[in-house]
């Protein structure tokens, strides 16, 4: 019986060409009983490999293929948990010294041999390398070293993969092994399941070597013999030495299945001596309840006890205590936070101040969050102020120790754009073509959808592509779709372990130097580690910034006591004026708000859930709106549905409602109902859905519900289960959404300044936010070296841009500009500034000049830029730094510089500089430059278009903002975008026929101004949009005219 003991999956990045599924499938097809996984310097795949292998009756063997410090590689297999831990330690050490090229030293090997089997001798081992170079003395030395440290756990591998020199190498290795009484095994250094996948492997190697398929490279694979050969094929290759096949089975018999998974590794929370964890949790919950509720009545107690019982029975008491402690720390330090997700279904989480949603008051179902039937780890996500989230993380590291806390990994895979660029390069396609294709592909397109995008998308259709190599590109993109490409740090995932982490995972440094586990969030939890999500939300930072600005101006606001029924705020939301508002600022949301006319927090909760692909495709939005406005009366096919669905006017909107329906109609327990919901939302086939449906109907009938009624109700649930939003999550977001709307309404200058400071965030870029705040009557002041601060700030109707808005500005420089001015007075000249604020490099000075920061002081930007080198030279000499080597013509006295008469930049040029440096035109708007020509061509301004009646024809021009193609209920392509001119913004809809004819211009990065001809549509509530009949690139019209 033969076992493949040297196998690479796609977790050997840019090398292994097979998914784990493919490797297991091949092993099963060949009748294998065991299989090893030994990726290059990685154990990332071991847990999913183990789970998959066991499911198909294959014994998984965990190992690694290590790159050695001096030369060659060494394969290690773990015999037991100690062996696995040693692999984790070896990898940790290797990556610590060089995360991009990890290598294992002899010293490290020597200290970490227990529980390991070592296999040397494969083609890329150090042994083989020395033998091929005719340096047998070094090979013998290496053998002696391995013999000394691994003793009876050392094997010599021979692979016969038809490479030049294999014949003699094979014989020499066998002779060497026999001379030293070492067992020999057959391996094949598998890099792909089937030989047909060789091309993928070769392509990945070309990418890794940064070469192309047309170029020769000594490290490119020679042939397609590194496939997972069957036992018959291997036996034929080693017919002269059958013992080396039998040895593989003997090794497999020596290996336990590692790592051991399933046991929870969550730490116990340190409680006072007189209390158990359960007692402490109970105490904290009831203390919190007294603060949260006016009265702790029987109903509340029943709810809390119900939750505590489930939490205790599932063994997550310590988990809640850990999260409570983290939230407590944040509160103590004044760090703004909000729990989100299904945790808001928990009254316990509310009483512990983890979330801010009253689950009892909203009648939210705890079982959506946790249930005995599901028996899974709870998932509590908390959003923190992005500026201070790292303080919270550091607290966790300090409290639990660095050996017990680590960040979680995330893998980027080959997607459409990256796949096109990298594959195209390796296939020697011209860079310009790859770039053009990549830029035009939709952002999140999967690699296997590239080819279909070419025929589907008008912006790709008209380009001439070279067909043969392009077809190869598409084929390869399809094959490597989903292959891991890079690893990075998960945004907020943190793992705390009871046992030292190295027993479970290596610790490797990310690009930013943070130690991460190479397991992603799913694998981490399968390993028994419990993940917390300590996320950072820039909206939290923006809220905090707003409050600090108000405090500085002696207008403090208690955010937690904001009136949740402020009519002015709801009126603003109902007008769809929600640019800048958390969760409500997209065009779709703004249209919804104008139709909905929200008048309570409940309406906002529903809004968050409504504008999502599911309800839109499922045609839920219009019925909801009609019923909400009393234009239609909700009907309930069964009276038990009314109390569940009345808050959403008869429409199933929330996952909790699906659970409640299953409970009320079919008498499921809440836990069973949540299981049903989850199975329905992940069902892979129609037959599976039918089976679930049958169970539901049978139970409903048994509960006294007529069969036809039960069948109809199931059909509703079947449609909703896959898209329903978690109500608790919507409620958590809705509170923040409303409060940011309040800030936008009542203190727009401060609020918009804060969201500009927190960029990038939200839906719109800075210039749209500034246009919006200007529309609200706030006056915007551009940069002024003698007035502005490092950051944008607002002050009762005025917004002052900050130096950090300048592209390329460093924070310490921006702060220094402000600090020096405050401490020693206003700057009297540009030279004065340069002298008093040293260390501002030339690029930043140029940017400040171009942004207009010195306009009030010096007035002439061109003159300043022209004289800048001379001024810098003057300062260097003044400070004794010696002379720069510059053109003597520029080297003139300062007084002469300032006196020279040089005409400043034109308005056009100044505006272009401001857009370039600030992303915004302070002097005016880009459209100012074209208005007279556009007017001559009968183009209206957006203000004029907005005043037209419903159905009127309009022609407008402007800049395209955020074109996107969301899924629609009809399945047809509809593009939405906003069009901005100097007076305002209008939302535009482009239906499929127009999109196919004219839509290419929307996604062309070089489009510039576009002209839209169409019809005005005025919706209820005052929202105005345009339906496009035609789109033109303005520059093409100008070129034609010229």
């Amino acid at each position: 019986m033969f076992v493949h003991l040297h196998v690479h999956s796609f977790y050997s990045m840019l090398d292994g060409a097979s998914r784990l599924e493919d490797l297991i499938a091949k092993a099963v097809a060949d009748g294998a009983t065991a299989l090893a996984l030994t990726d290059h310097d990685s154990v990332t795949g071991l847990i999913p490999f183990q789970q998959l292998a066991r499911r198909f009756g294959i014994q998984p063997i965990g190992g690694v293929d290590l790159t050695l410090e001096k030369e060659g590689r060494l394969v290690l297999l773990a015999k037991d948990e100690q062996g696995y831990e040693n692999i984790c330690r070896l990898l940790t050490l290797a990556y610590r010294d060089n995360r991009l090229d990890p290598r294992t030293t002899d010293a490290a090997l020597r200290d970490h041999t227990q529980g390991l089997i070592a296999i040397s001798g494969g083609r890329f081992s150090d042994l083989s390398s020395y033998l091929l170079k005719h340096q047998p003395q070094y090979a013998i030395k290496r053998l002696a070293f391995y013999r000394e440290i691994f003793r009876d756990d050392l094997y010599i591998a021979v692979s016969r993969t038809a490479l030049p020199g294999d014949f003699s190498l094979s014989r020499t290795l066998i002779d060497l092994a026999n001379q030293h009484s070492l067992p020999v095994i057959a391996t094949n250094d598998v890099h792909y399941a089937m030989s047909d996948d060789f091309a993928v492997h070769d392509l990945l190697v070309c990418m890794r070597l940064k070469t192309t398929v047309d170029e020769m490279h000594s490290l490119r694979p020679f042939n397609r013999e590194n496939d997972m050969k069957s036992e018959a094929e291997i036996s034929a290759l080693f017919a002269d030495y059958p013992e080396c096949i039998e040895q593989t089975a003997k090794i497999a018999a020596r290996c336990d299945i590692v790592p051991h998974i399933g046991e929870s590794l969550f730490p116990a929370f340190s409680v006072p001596e007189h209390e158990t964890s359960e007692q402490m949790l109970r105490r904290l919950v009831y203390e919190g309840a007294k603060g949260r509720y006016d009265m702790v009545d029987e109903m509340l107690i029943a709810r809390l006890e119900h939750e505590l019982q489930i939490i205790t029975e599932l063994g997550f008491v310590d988990y809640f205590l850990v999260v409570w402690d983290i939230a407590r720390y944040a509160r103590m330090r004044g760090i703004r936070y909000a729990g989100r997700g299904s945790a808001a279904d928990s009254a316990v989480a509310y009483c512990l101040y983890i979330t801010d949603v009253d689950a009892v008051g909203r009648n939210l179902l705890f079982e959506r969050f946790m249930s005995l039937e599901r028996a899974e780890k709870p998932d509590i996500d908390i959003d923190f102020d992005s500026m201070r989230r790292d303080e919270v993380r550091q607290y966790v590291y300090d409290k639990y120790g660095e050996n017990h806390v680590v960040s979680v990994c995330t893998y980027s895979t080959f997607r459409g754009r990256s796949a096109v660029r990298e594959i195209g390069k390796a296939l020697s396609l011209p860079e310009a073509i790859c770039d053009q294709l990549a830029k035009r592909l939709p952002f999140m397109l999967h690699a296997d959808q590239v080819e279909s995008a070419l025929s589907r998308l008008p912006e790709l259709r008209d380009v001439k592509w070279p067909t043969e190599r392009l077809q190869l590109l598409f084929d390869m993109a399809r094959k490597i779709a989903g292959f891991p490409r890079y690893y990075g740090t998960h945004v907020g995932g943190l793992v705390i372990s009871r046992t030292p982490l190295l027993k479970t995972t290596p610790l490797i440094p990310s690009a930013k130097g943070v130690l991460i586990t190479p397991f992603d969030k799913d694998v981490v939890e399968d390993s028994g580690l419990v993940k917390l999500d300590l996320l950072s939300l820039r909206t939290m930072s923006a809220i905090e910034d707003t409050l600090l600005q108000l405090q500085a101006k002696e207008r403090p606001l208690d955010y937690d006591r904001i009136d949740l029924e402020d009519q002015e705020t709801f009126a603003m939301i109902a007008r769809g004026e929600t640019i800048g508002v958390f969760q409500l600022e997209s065009p779709a949301q703004r249209v919804l708000q104008s139709r909905l006319g929200a008048s309570s927090l409940e309406d906002i909760v529903a809004s968050v859930a409504l504008i999502r692909p599911g309800p839109i495709k499922g045609n839920m939005v219009d019925p909801f709106l009609r019923r909400r406005k009393g234009q239609e009366v909700p009907t309930y096919i069964h009276p038990k549905l009314e109390p569940i669905l009345s808050k959403t006017y008869g429409v199933v909107l929330f996952q909790e409602q699906v659970i409640e329906i299953a409970t009320a109609i079919a008498n499921f327990s809440p836990g069973e109902a949540d299981q049903l919901r989850r199975v329905m939302s992940h069902a892979r086939s129609a037959s599976e859905m039918d089976r679930i449906g049958q169970e539901f109907i049978e139970k409903s009938v048994a509960n006294g519900v007529p069969y036809e009624v039960a069948e109809t109700i199931y059909s509703y649930m079947r449609g909703y289960a896959s898209y329903g939003f978690c109500e608790a999550h919507a409620a958590a977001f809705a509170t923040t959404a409303y409060k940011t709307a309040y800030l936008a309404q009542h203190m727009p200058a401060e609020f918009f300044a804060s969201i500009i400071n927190a960029q990038p965030m939200g839906y719109y870029p800075t210039h749209v936010l500034l246009a919006e705040v200007k529309r609200r009557g706030v006056r915007i002041y551009g940069l002024d070296i003698n007035k502005g601060g490092a950051f944008a700030c607002g002050d009762a109707g005025n917004l002052y841009l900050g130096f950090m808005q300048v592209q390329g500005m460093k924070k310490d420089v921006a702060k220094r500009i402000e600090d020096v001015r405050k401490s020693s007075g206003l700057y009297v000249s540009f030279l004065d500034f340069c002298v008093r604020v040293p260390g501002v490099d030339r690029l930043q000075l140029e940017q400040l000049i171009r942004a207009g920061a010195f306009d009030a002081l010096e007035g002439n930007r061109r003159r300043l830029l022209w004289n800048l080198p001379g001024i810098l030279q003057y300062i260097r000499e003044r400070e004794g730094f010696g002379e720069l080597v510059i053109d003597p013509i520029i080297r003139i006295e300062h007084e002469t510089l300032m006196a020279s008469r040089m005409k400043d930049f034109s308005y056009h040029e100044r505006l272009a500089m401001e857009y370039q440096t600030l992303g915004y035109g302070v002097s005016g708007h880009w459209m100012d430059l074209y208005r007279s020509d556009l007017t001559a061509r009968r183009c209206q301004t957006i203000t004029e278009a907005l005043s037209l009646s419903d159905g009127a024809l309009a022609t407008v021009a402007g800049l395209v903002i955020r074109p996107h193609r969301p899924p629609t209920k009809s399945g047809k392509t509809v593009v939405f975008f906003s069009l901005e001119d100097e007076e305002g913004m209008i939302d535009v809809t482009v239906f499929q026929d127009v999109y196919h004819r004219d839509g290419a211009v929307l996604f062309d990065p070089s489009r510039g101004v576009i002209i839209v001809q169409g019809v005005i549509q005025r919706r209820q509530g005052g929202n105005v949009q345009m339906i496009a009949h035609a789109l033109y690139a303005y520059k093409l019209i100008m070129n034609a005219a010229n």
């Binding site: 398929v213 013999e225 190599r469």
Partner: protein, 84 residues
């Protein structure tokens, strides 16, 4: 010293391995296969190329060393190289 010839030849095999070949009207019997390897085809030029190639470095009864190439796609043999 080696010379690259790349000449088509007739080869007698045992089904898998070459046993003898005819070159310039002379029969050469293979005494030993000194080395064997396979070179993958240029898969990215699939419309041009033929298939993988087996390469045999052989010692003949006349003590000559030759490299024989067997194109697996076309099943064509050629004398690739001779070692002088």
């Amino acid at each position: 010293m080696t010379r690259i010839l790349q000449q088509k030849i007739d080869v007698e095999t045992d089904g898998k391995r070459p046993r003898a070949f005819l070159f310039r009207d002379q029969q050469y019997f293979i005494v030993e296969i000194l080395d064997f390897w396979i070179e993958a085809d240029a898969w990215w030029k699939s419309f041009e190329d033929h298939g993988d190639r087996e390469m045999f470095r052989v010692l003949t009864d006349q003590e000559g060393i030759f490299e024989l190439e067997h194109d697996l796609g076309d099943d064509v043999w050629q004398l690739y190289k001779v070692w002088d």
